[in-house]
Symmetry: C2
Subunit: 227 residues, 2 copies
Amino acid sequence: MSFPNPQIKLTVDAVVFGYEAGNISVLLIQRKYDPFKGKWALPGGFVLEEESLEEAVERELREETGVAINYLEQLYTFGGVNRDPRGRVVSVAYFGLIHPDGHTLEASTDAEAAKWFDINDLPQLSFDHSHILDMAIERLKGKITYEPIGFELLDTKFPFSDLEKLYSTLLGRPVDRRNFRKKINSLKILDELDEKISLGAGRPASLFRFNETRYKQLQKEGIIFEI
Amino acid sequence: MSFPNPQIKLTVDAVVFGYEAGNISVLLIQRKYDPFKGKWALPGGFVLEEESLEEAVERELREETGVAINYLEQLYTFGGVNRDPRGRVVSVAYFGLIHPDGHTLEASTDAEAAKWFDINDLPQLSFDHSHILDMAIERLKGKITYEPIGFELLDTKFPFSDLEKLYSTLLGRPVDRRNFRKKINSLKILDELDEKISLGAGRPASLFRFNETRYKQLQKEGIIFEI
């Protein structure tokens, strides 16, 4: 059988979520070239022949936004026949979580600009990127029920209320404070530090740190984490 | 910017699981052409320019095995640089569940033969297909903890013990019969029929049927289903 030659191109796209002060944001770029020149889009681009999909998405993210992430999870592959005006382009979408504070944005190559957008206040997106983003948001909300998310999104040291706020933001509803603390304690996922922080008028609050070993173990076990 | 032209080809592969009499099997084909001529592999092949990924995987499955499935779920996209000796080939793998009884196998096009193999007694597989299959088995085992799997795998009418056996097979351990029945009852997912079946020496057992409406609703909600 001959090696076929359909003109299908392959891209990767990255949905990178950030969390800060009770808001979830997503990293977008402004396109420098047509199609959709000047419009906002997910960072991403064509896969080169000699790189893996993971290498491609990390490279595109670095080039277009200046952000370096060493862990992106595969989300889904979008292969609709008419999703790109240039021809048949199939895109493998990836999904990552970071704390925006630690990353300086710097657009180059195909991106005119790179910017964080609150997921509740998004511009119109290019291609089928709003569909990809919707699926990533669903995945993020689903994940917090079976994985102890947070490590990538919070500061290294944080008061317990930050973790609680993250969950209530992701769930879109308040969490029962007492049950939440009980649940987190039972997972033995946090180490309480000797440091405290002053938050408003109340007593100074203890700072916590994720226990990375324990956290990775729970992630691997895929524990059920009902809040 | 010009439209790039890396020589990356796109394929789809299907991991179709069947369940019968306490055994989980997977549908494989014997390759008619090189590479791996005469070896076993997952059904699949190159995506055509004018078809979606879903259309491609359904077509390949039909052509190579005679099996028609109208629901396949995307599993993962495998894009390692050296996974195909012919060049750079990225494959989008899909995953489906059927009851083998209702399907007659008929190999054609690129397949010399199509056959069910017990997942505990597999031949050597072509390409990285054993890696793809391993991931599909993990997914299947994971799914039963948060979805009421079974609808696609069991007969239309079945004794309760069949469902219990399916779960214990997938989990690889016995299930606590009493708690399992209680859990299933609380989900209101089964309708008990007026028919009975004789199984061995005991009293005839009632037959059940999945309540499709309720089942699809629970699937959509992505319920936590701890057994």
